[in-house]
């Protein structure tokens, strides 16, 4: 039977090429543009991490140490990377992760991410510490939204945020649990860069985050039993089990992009032990240097339900605001589908650890952009405009 070439669905990049070329065709072009647009201070804040930045590098190293075991002859002519996430259909298993101070990359801040979230149909988790705030961000888009809180007040203060999040259509509520102390981001400190949103934080406010305990979780589940709760910053199976014991609906594996405790494990290295206790019992989130479609596929194969993207989102907003962020998501989706097809799966449900080989050779020194080796930030010469 002859295949009719004209009926073959064009891939994303083929469509874009036929249309004369989209502004960004690869993710590293987005990074390049962001680098050209951002001040040194904002750039360092976005790409930097804590102290030696070892946790950040381990995030990349852990992803890079996984190899695919591609299967063949599977008929992958139709690939679906959509999924059901916390009861809703979304276009791909990617979350626009919360970014504090996101207005440093796009003046509209969280509202731009919310708009991209609506346009593309992936969820957005809004950080409590960014412009334009809970209400205005909710008003900006009709999207799948989640609110993430840094605790800066007493229980009444927290409950007030929960009430407001409920009222403004945030489908679930997330407590940050990996930020009991503000870490030492040495890129910022060395350059004496004072972040505006940090300057607002009083000593007393920060102390509330330090005092967080499981009692706060108990209170939330008692007062808001039907409002799904996510704990962001889980890094061990032990704490994942405790979260389950407390009735938590979402377990978010994260080391804050390497921006909180230094010398932690890479996020995807933590995923298997957490999935072993929590898979099917809670929704499993993971983030930490996921910069590629293939990175996302690896996390899903190891048991994650959704993958958060933070830095890449910030870079895309800096490069092209809402349009830049949508374009980034399109490229990631294209990469996910390509990866799925090449390893022989048509839907995310088919992915499991049989498609992965652990402890593969790592071919590049891990760093913020080792997933984008063609990026050359030294070369001032290229970067398409949107």
């Amino acid at each position: 039977m002859a295949l009719d070439a004209s009926k073959k669905a064009p891939t994303h990049w083929e469509k874009d090429l036929r249309a004369g070329g989209a502004p960004f065709m690869t993710l590293h072009e987005i990074v390049k543009k962001a680098n050209q647009r951002l001040s040194q201070g904002a750039w360092d804040y976005l790409i930097g991490a804590t102290e030696t930045e070892t946790t950040l590098k381990r995030n990349r190293m852990a992803i890079d140490a996984l190899a695919f075991k591609a299967r063949v002859c599977r008929d992958v002519s139709s690939i679906d990377c959509s999924t059901t996430f916390m009861g809703q259909d979304i276009r791909m298993p990617v979350l626009l992760a919360p970014i504090g101070g996101i207005e440093a990359f796009d003046p509209d801040g969280g509202a731009s991410s919310a708009k991209a979230s609506e346009a593309f149909n992936v969820p957005h988790m809004l950080s409590s510490r960014c412009h334009p705030g809970l209400e205005d961000t909710a008003a900006a888009a009709d999207n799948f939204r989640i609110f993430q809180l840094y605790v800066r007040g007493d229980q009444d203060w927290v409950d007030d945020h929960v009430d407001r999040a409920l009222k403004h259509g945030y489908q679930s509520f997330c407590l940050t649990v990996d930020s009991a102390h503000y870490s030492r981001r040495e890129r910022d400190i060395s350059t004496r860069y004072v972040k505006k949103w940090r300057a607002r934080v009083g000593e007393e406010g920060v102390r509330y985050q330090s005092t967080l305990s499981w009692d706060h979780v108990k209170h939330h589940k008692k007062k808001y039993p039907d409002y799904p709760l996510i704990l962001k910053g889980i890094a061990t199976a032990e704490d994942a089990q405790m979260a389950l014991d407390h009735g938590v609906e979402g377990i978010y594996i994260s080391n804050h992009g390497g921006r909180q405790l230094d010398h932690g494990r890479g996020s995807i290295d933590v995923l298997p032990e957490v999935a072993a206790v929590a898979k099917g019992k809670a929704t499993i989130f993971v983030d930490g240097s996921f910069m590629r479609g293939s990175d996302v596929v690896k996390a899903i194969a190891l048991g994650a339900d959704i993958v958060g993207m933070g830095r890449l989102q910030g870079l895309a907003l800096a490069a092209g605001s809402v349009e830049g962020c949508i374009r980034m998501l399109e490229i990631v989706e294209s990469e996910i589908k390509t990866c799925m097809g090449l390893i022989g799966v048509s839907s995310l449900d088919e992915l499991d650890e049989t498609y992965l080989h652990r402890d593969a050779n790592i071919v590049a020194t891990p760093h913020q952009f080792s997933a984008l080796p063609l990026l050359n930030l030294e070369d001032d010469g290229y970067a398409p405009s949107l």
Partner: protein, 364 residues
């Protein structure tokens, strides 16, 4: 913890290194920075630290983190000893006297090296902080007895015998430049190769303060040390400056802790440069951590005040690191927080704990 005060001169530890590099002559810099032969031991010190990862716990209420630790009967602000360094006087003219004052001001012990100027008696007079003495054997039993007596007379609360320096190592950075360390010309090496466990027994019999054996690198010697009366087993490879191609200090710690049990305390040094480094040693059973090179950089950069400031930043790091690990005090850190054999992300070297440091850039 309070945000960093942007008006302070030193806000990160690597800024001391930069300033020290700009101030020191290449000869003194290389003495401070270098190790022996291939510098493999030195690099393994860092590599061993860098191959450990943490398993942080959450929701623990860590608003009040306490970094203090009691050692040799006294409470210190950090589980840190200002480790002995022979050539402190080349980083600051006041040498050991300056560091003794820093130690008192901040509240950690200073272990005075046997070759450190202006000499133990003057250093003891310079400050009232916690002072230990570290001996290089450069004479017969009468000479040793005299040193032990002096240490006790001037108020040292612990006495350390160095056991890893029976021969002078080949520090090829110095040799290549034909650099003769001034304090070495007055040294007497004749007696060092003859140190045995009998020397330990002799010192133990003359010494009425706790005895530390500095330079232990195996469980076997740790056990022998305990049998010969050591109160502290100090794991050290001399910062990678004595035998080359040995193990990183942190690789040795678990076997020594297991072998010694509760019969002695275990201290350690070798490449420690960060709050996270200290947490790793504590988690694997060390009581105290020695800081040598970092002390040298801070002293060279900013003298006595520089060493105090270095300790302040180290404490700031440790408070935050402990809070983020989910503990309120050092006693809570155990093996459950430690993941061994984690990937090493940087090529290990003297300054791999400071990846943002750029010594090539003369400008800042």
């Amino acid at each position: 913890m309070a945000d960093v005060d942007p008006t302070a001169e030193y806000l990160t530890l690597h800024e001391f290194v930069k300033k020290a590099r700009l101030k020191l002559s290449p000869f003194v810099w290389d003495y401070l920075y270098g190790g022996s032969e291939t510098e493999t031991t030195l690099k393994r010190n860092r590599m061993a630290l860098d191959s450990i990862a943490f398993r942080p716990r959450v929701l623990r209420d860590v608003a009040d983190v306490d970094t203090s630790r009691t050692a040799i009967g006294k409470k210190h602000r950090l589980p840190v000893i200002l480790a002995p360094m022979g050539g402190l006087q080349h980083f600051d003219p006041d040498g050991g006297a300056a560091v003794a004052r820093s130690a008192e001001t901040f509240g950690v012990p200073f272990m005075c090296g046997g070759n450190t100027q202006p000499g133990l008696a003057n250093i003891a007079k310079a400050a009232n902080g916690e002072l230990y003495y570290q001996l290089y054997v450069m004479g017969d039993h009468d000479w040793i007895e005299e040193r032990v007596k002096l240490a006790m007379d001037v108020g040292c609360t612990a006495f350390a015998l160095t056991v890893d320096s029976n021969l002078g190592s080949r520090r090829e950075r110095d040799i290549s430049k034909r650099y003769t360390k001034p304090w070495h010309t007055t040294n007497h090496y004749d007696h060092r190769p003859h140190i045995t466990w009998k020397t330990v027994d002799f010192i133990k019999s003359k010494c009425n303060v706790p005895l530390i054996l500095k330079g232990i690198q195996s469980a076997e010697d740790a056990v022998l040390g305990v049998e010969h009366g050591a109160d502290v087993i100090y794991i050290s490879n001399h910062g990678g400056r004595q035998p080359d191609h040995t193990r990183g200090s942190m690789e040795i710690l678990p076997e020594v802790v297991e072998a010694v049990g509760n019969k002695a305390k275990v201290w350690i040094d070798g490449g420690f440069a960060r709050g996270t480094d200290i947490m790793k040693a504590i988690g694997l059973g060390a009581e105290m951590v020695g800081v040598g090179r970092l002390q040298g950089y801070a002293l060279a950069a900013a003298g006595e005040a520089g060493v105090v400031r270095m300790l302040e930043i180290l404490q700031q790091e440790l408070v935050i690191d402990m809070g983020l690990l989910g503990v309120n005090n050092l006693d809570q850190i155990d093996e459950s927080y430690i993941h061994m054999n984690a990937p090493v992300v940087n090529q290990p070297h003297q300054l791999s704990a400071f990846p943002l440091l750029n010594l090539e850039d003369e400008g800042y």
